[in-house]
Symmetry: C2
Subunit: 275 residues, 2 copies
């Protein structure tokens, strides 16, 4: 057992999956789930993702560890409320997809905090898609700062490893820069690809288009908040992307067969490095 | 049975899968496979994708139907050679992903020709990945022109339906315009997305990036040829894409939460129309 009592605030896909995994691997004696929506609370109980499901933040008063798993857009606001009810020595993490802005704020609120970003999930959201195995073989990035104690870092690392994830460490700023490229940019591109397709052409789509644009099925609320929270790095990665697509455009416009072949071959090799 | 003897020129993923499907559904008494590479011929025989495997185009002299399934870049050249050996009344189709340029040339070479484009396949190429079921529930576009006889169109439609595909008809020009958006642009975007990612960031990629860039694993030869063959429409679709991505960029740079939400919600709905 990792700790006695764990609180999960926000019981969506990630929060719900964590609840299921924590119970499956017996990482806590009791899991308290907090959520604003009654339907979600019922579903979380039905799925046995939490032991207690409530809208009342006061039930966090004696937990040992809190995981903030709400959408990025409300993490800071919820954290303020949570900070007023938990014990001073309670360990806190969040699972937000952008980190710099969130870590800056949450470090002020909590003395035992470190940010997490599990690189898993799906365009399917909500506790009904929760699955205790989604962390298996996935990567979870922790974003310690000079304020992070070794004990907190170790405990949160232990939590993620216990649910099956590999753990890596990045500064909040570097996390946001990297994830802009590997996650926020692909979402932006998928949304724009669908945006540019004439509706009447949709029926002529095959597997390739579907895969390339699956991310455009992602939650508009969630992604509005992530794009805004990490706007600087997201726009930076987009700038780079636009430059590179212009180079490919130039090769095609010149009908440079040899140049195109060498270029595409190089990219194919690079892509094959992603396991 | 559709015809007595079918010739398949080019025994890759599509040619090989067609061979397997033709034999599975007994659409011809005999399937002659033509290919330049000895290894492929052996593998095609081993997989029983063809009855006879040869490099000798003269074996097409008495076939009733020829399917040109080579990469786009060599279809026109191979077609010239094929036209010198087949019977005058032999029915011909090709499976190229771009059509205008190919149809224009092949109509001059063959009097019983119509272009096909089965919207199926994979980044995995070669007869070793051949599968008789890949046409099931897929769409196959035929591109008849004023020169196409009803008999030829009907026979080729019958062929595709017999292997499990739904058939739709488009002019070669409209085909190229639509497929630029639904296939060539997604490939271009996937290649450029990988191109723009710093190599050292690759290890921080999750499922979203993988799906969005799966097409960057596609064959460089094949896609060099398709981009060049359909360069005009591909560049046209890219122009549209760049305009749309600039709009999303603008929304993010303004941090326009409401505008972003409405915009992403609209795109999510549009994407969900792709079945």
């Amino acid at each position: 057992m990792l700790v006695k009592k764990i609180g999960i605030v926000g019981i969506g896909l990630i929060g719900g999956s964590l609840g299921l995994a924590i119970k499956k691997y017996k990482l806590a004696k009791r899991v308290i789930g907090i959520c604003r929506h009654r339907n979600t609370l019922q579903e979380a109980l039905r799925r046995k993702a939490v032991d207690i499901a409530t809208t009342d933040l006061n039930l966090l008063s004696d937990v040992d560890l809190v995981i903030l798993a709400t959408p990025v857009g409300v993490i800071k606001e919820i954290a303020s409320l949570v900070s007023k009810t938990i014990r001073r020595n309670c360990i806190v993490t969040d699972v937000g997809s952008s980190k710099k802005e969130i870590v800056l704020k949450l470090e002020k609120l909590f003395c035992n905090y470190v940010g997490s970003h599990p690189l898993t999930g799906s365009h399917n959201i909500g506790v009904k898609f929760a699955d205790p195995t989604i962390f298996k073989n996935s990567l979870c990035i922790l974003t310690p700062t000079k304020n992070t104690s070794r004990e907190v870092l170790f405990k949160i690392k232990e939590l993620w490893e216990a649910v099956g994830a590999r753990v890596d460490f990045l500064s909040p700023a570097l996390h946001d820069k990297i994830i802009a490229f590997t996650s926020h940019l692909p979402h932006l591109v998928a949304f724009s690809l669908i945006d540019s397709l004439p509706v009447k052409y949709l029926k002529y789509s095959a597997g390739g288009l579907k895969d390339t644009t699956r991310l455009a099925l992602s939650s508009p609320q969630l992604w509005r908040d992530i794009f805004i929270s990490n706007h600087k790095e997201t726009l930076g990665s987009l700038k780079q992307f636009k430059e590179r697509i212009s180079f490919l455009e130039w090769l095609i416009s010149k009908r440079d067969a040899e140049g195109l072949y060498i270029f595409l071959k190089k990219i194919q090799r690079k892509r094959s490095k992603i396991l």
